[in-house]
Amino acid sequence: MPGVTRLSVRNIRKSFGTHEVLRGISLDAQDGDVISLLGASGSGKSTFLRCINLLETATDGEIWVDGEQIRMIHKGGTSRPASQKQVDHIRSELGMVFQSFNLWSHMTILQNVIEGPVHVLKRPRAECIAEAEALLEKVGIAAKRHAYPAHLSGGQQQRAAIARALAMKPKVMLFDEPTSALDPELVGEVLRVMRALAEEGMTMLVVTHEMSFARNVSNRVVFMKEGLVESTGSPDEMFGGGASPAFRQFIGHFGNGQ
């Protein structure tokens, strides 16, 4: 159902101590949007994603997930979510994929994937296993389902982490530099899975340094600078001639290997 707003962020601010990292960011993601978030190190990309699923609490601003607003309590300069229950519910609707995979080391890949559906969503185990196996098949690591994370390559671990997030049937997937901890040769595996997801119409928000992904797969590029959205547009606009000077300078880093 294209046109439905899956995620809406209004004027998010976030400070650590006196340092204001996010200075008012707004963003909407419609069903099927694939948004690339670009920006220099320290520009606040990770913090932004972490605020959306409440791993950090934004100092100010509003967040709607699939039409439901996250209720916050602002009191004396600090803020916190009003209901842990709502937080857990919202988080279960947002799939998060971390740079460093963060698979649970004491569980096999399959156990990692069914953990959420069985224990958070409280769905029947057998059903979850069947779905998990289908997901692992899809990301291409079904053969490794009984292995432990430590026994997998980085690319395999990241694909397992994606499967784990997908198993929760999230409304939006958030990716924080999903390939930057990988060896160059393993990057392709993960990008292929992400491209397939995008083609199936999954709504995705992707922090990435892979210009080819931003250019070829996403339908919108958001460039952040010092806690603000410096410029945004379609990949063609951004990578074509029309980009802002700051963005042009930023992508200049990547063209050559120095």
């Binding site: 857990d88 988080r91 971390f98 698979l103 004491h106 569980m107 224990h119 958070v120 430590a150 390559s153």
Partner: protein
Amino acid sequence: MDFAFLAQTMGTLLKAVPMTLALFSLSVFFGGLLALLIVWMRVGGNPVLSAIAKGYIFIFRGSPLLIQMFLVFYGLGQFGFIRYSFLWPFLREPFVCAVLSLALCTAGYSAEIFRGGIRAVSPREIEAARSIGMSGALLVRRILAPIAFRHALPAYSTEIVLMMKSTALASLVTVWEVTGVAQRLISQTYRTMEVFLCAAIIYLVLNFIILQVMSLLEYSLSRHRRAIPPALKA
């Protein structure tokens, strides 16, 4: 070497092993439960509870068990309100007091060990759990506790062996376990070396068994760390 005497001594000492084992297992069990409570207070974020837990750990780790046991056994009875309370029928029993003071002591140590285990859990794995909507008890039960326990296991086995050895002090409060019986034998026969040698062997065997069991447990809980296929080695 007087083998007849050694055999006889061994026989006498072995009869006290069930008492040692009873002291040991009950105090490890109750001490473990108490440790969970304390570690929850310690890391829970409430400053008052955390301070209480810190104080508890400081006192019970910092003073000799001998003094603790003496004060628990002989000291509590000095207070009329304890002697006339419903607790007295229990506290009157030397065995209960011995288990109580052993458990109080090990709880302090175990709490620190468990806390170390919790700190060793990667914050990222916790974050991953939160990001799929886990929190509170579910998070502790499914992610935090299993990983923390696995981390704490080696230190905890050491603590358990220390407990086994600590039961040797229970004869102070008239519970006659292996060391107490050995000391009594010595004051009857004055053959210190032989008697203590027998006692030493008994403890060595008991502790050896405990360590084997613990390392078996460790082994079965570390499948995820074992046998990394060489092809994937970095």
